[in-house]
């Protein structure tokens, strides 16, 4: 009787089910890429692939479209947000996993995870009503006035101090991705074998030395995976960025001034695109966004393979 239940038929059905589900995921991803590529075909044909990627005009009236301002906006905002978020996220992870007493560690970990669960529109609203006035009055305007007096050359780089723009978008984005980087790093740090740490302590190492010499090198694969997840999240984030970035594809960008990202331009223009070249260009931007995410994941996978230690490396 046991053989019948665990025997060949059940196994086969189970295997077939798993393979089918796995294939379905691949099929869906492939179909999405195909749909975006096919929809964007007209834009790629009209402007040429590199012409579209490098084109900096986006004008629905003159039917001229290029994705460069949005590509640049996506790259800058997500890279800057990651740079801002990385150290705090890592510090929080180390504090929770290594230093904090249990009750505090649990509370902090819970709150960090809660940050990930907040809908991005809430971040956007918070940004508009709390962060923007704060940044405008206490950071942008003083800096702008200072540069007007002492370093007029800097004014162009800073841009108009209205509070809505690249800086606010990056700050909110950084806050949004902290939990992703932090929770994966925390789990990776907790997975560092006890024996490794104890060996180090036995050699007379301080707590800091253990973290630096044992925990971080051992956990770097997991930490890096968190970084990549955070970056992917930043690249695709739409709502909060759209609400805060000012949505202007006019190059050159400035630190305080408005900008636009690939996700934000799609969210903004898709509903009212009547078809034709504009719709095709929006789908083409979607296709490029997918390519960008794919590239990030491939690079990440490559690096991850090289840097993982312990169980991962055989």
């Amino acid at each position: 009787m046991r053989d019948k239940i665990y025997g060949q038929l059940g196994d086969r059905v189970f295997t077939a089910g798993l393979v089918l589900l796995g294939l379905a995921v691949m099929l869906i991803a492939g179909l999405m890429a195909w749909e975006l590529g096919a929809g964007g075909w007209e834009a790629f044909r009209s402007f040429g692939f590199w012409g579209f990627v490098r084109g900096s005009a986006w004008n629905a009236v003159a039917e001229q479209f290029g994705a460069w301002p949005f590509l640049l906006g996506t790259l800058i905002t997500s890279a800057a947000a990651l740079a801002l978020a990385f150290l705090p996220a890592l510090a929080a992870a180390i504090a929770v996993a290594e230093y904090a007493p249990r009750w505090l560690a649990e509370a902090v970990a819970y709150l960090i995870d809660l940050l990930a669960a907040l809908p991005s529109v809430v971040y956007g609203l918070w940004g508009i009503f709390v962060l923007v006035p704060l940044v405008r009055d206490h950071l942008e305007q003083p800096l702008f006035l200072w540069s007007a007096e002492h370093a007029p050359a800097l004014m162009g780089v800073l841009g108009p101090p209205t509070g809505i723009g690249m800086l606010s978008a990056v700050l909110v984005l950084a806050l949004m991705i902290v939990p992703y980087a932090s929770s994966l790093a925390r789990d990776a740090i907790r997975l560092v074998p006890r024996a490794q740490r104890e060996a180090m302590y036995a050699l007379g190492a301080t707590r800091w030395e253990v973290v630096r010499r044992v925990v971080l090198p051992y956990a770097r694969g997991g930490i890096f995976a968190g970084v990549i997840l955070a970056l992917a999240r930043a690249i695709g984030e739409t709502m909060a960025v759209t609400m805060l970035i000012g949505n202007s594809g006019q190059l050159p960008y400035s630190v305080f001034g408005p900008a636009a990202t690939m996700a934000s331009v799609i969210a903004n223009e898709f509903a009212e695109a009547e078809g034709g070249l504009q719709l095709s260009s929006l789908l083409a931007v979607g296709f490029l966004l997918m390519l960008l995410s794919l590239a990030v994941n491939l690079v990440a996978d490559f690096i991850l393979r090289r840097m993982s230690v312990g169980e991962g490396r055989k």
Binding site: A60, P258, A260, E272
Partner: protein, 351 residues
């Protein structure tokens, strides 16, 4: 009681069969509150159900072209090229049925200024081109004698999403400023020379409220309901008009109203008219059998009757919801267009 139950059920079933027509439409978000009112009243009157998805004018037009809805709705009339494409593709025309009038108003955030600020078309164009950068610019001061305009820098705020509101606004600016026409043009989304983009009326209004010295534009209904300061605009006759229902209706009283009702009301010649006004339209196939969504003559007839009701009795609901009702000329032109609606060659509305 038990005896009546089957009878009641049978009656209900019969009623459901007789009134089983369900129409579907998609398009503009601007008239959505009004359409929701129309359709709920019409359902009570006739039993005809209407599902309306307010997905934006562009989406409505896409759905109309793909034959998935009975009617589309748009804040901008179809361009000539788009109409020609439609006629080539389906062998029939698109009928534009105006349903209501809306206005776009300049909204601003000027701390300390109580009286409504006056603008003129060319000054608005120069502000949105980034040429006028301060509120105390001589051009603005000349329009506002006696008003103490602060020396604040002007922050331009505009829609970041494609929208009918932007179409009306830019179409007006293109009419009154040759430079705007040449550099930017008119469209639902344009390449703005300057300013911040907010998503939706609420996005623009939010940015304007947050930024002292900001100027933006929004639909009149939105500005009124949310108590946002909005200015008066000088019309072609030289008067400064603050948008309200009367000045909207006046804007549409044209002597030469075109037969197809595709008419731009911006920069109206009417002396009392507000210059940044527009109709909003429902779009249908003239030969309804060419629309794949229309499955039967009964559906086609129900649609034609619905449209006829909207331009006549339905108009009573407009003003309570801050939309202006259609002027007489528009109703007349539309009556003729509705009589031309056909299903397999048969006209749908009697004399």
């Amino acid at each position: 009681m038990k005896r009546f139950l089957p009878l009641a059920l049978a009656l209900l079933a019969a009623a459901a069969l007789a009134k089983g027509v369900t129409l579907s439409g998609a398009g503009a978000t601007f008239p959505y509150p009004l359409y929701a009112k129309y359709f709920s009243v019409y359902h009570k009157l006739t039993g005809v159900r209407v599902n309306y998805q307010s997905i934006g004018s562009g989406g409505g037009i896409r759905q109309l072209f793909s034959g998935t809805v009975h009617f589309g709705a748009s804040d901008a009339p179809l361009a000539d090229a788009k109409l020609a494409e439609f006629e080539r593709k389906f062998g029939t025309a698109v009928v534009h049925v105006p349903t209501a009038l809306g206005a776009v108003v300049p909204i601003y955030n000027l701390p300390g200024v109580r009286e409504p600020v006056r603008f003129s078309g060319p000054v608005l164009a120069d502000i949105f081109l980034g040429k006028i950068r301060k509120w105390n610019d001589p051009a603005l001061a000349a329009l506002n004698p006696g008003v103490k305009l602060p020396p604040l820098p002007i922050t331009v705020v505009r829609r970041s999403d494609g929208s009918g509101t932007t179409y009306i606004w830019t179409e007006y600016l293109a009419k009154v400023s040759p430079e705007w026409k040449e550099k930017v043009g008119a469209g639902k989304s344009v390449a703005w020379p300057t300013g911040l983009g907010g998503k939706g009326n609420e996005g623009v209004a939010g940015l304007v409220r947050q930024t002292p010295g900001a100027i933006g534009y929004a639909e009149l209904v939105y500005a009124v309901q949310n108590k946002i300061a909005y200015g008066a605009v000088q019309n072609r006759a030289g008067r400064f008009v603050r948008a309200d229902l009367a000045s909207l209706r006046a804007a549409a009283e044209l002597d030469d109203f075109p037969a197809d009702a595709r008419v731009s009301l911006t920069d109206t010649p009417a002396a009392e008219g507000y210059p940044i006004a527009s109709f909003t339209w429902i779009l249908v196939y003239r030969d309804l059998d060419k629309n794949r969504a229309v499955k039967s003559a009964a559906e086609a007839k129900a649609l034609a009757e619905l449209l006829d009701w909207i331009v006549h009795d339905g108009q009573h609901y407009n003003e309570a919801l801050h939309y202006a009702a259609l002027p007489e000329v528009a109703v007349h032109a539309t009556e003729a267009n509705l009589k031309a609606l056909r299903y397999r060659g048969e006209p749908l509305l009697g004399e």
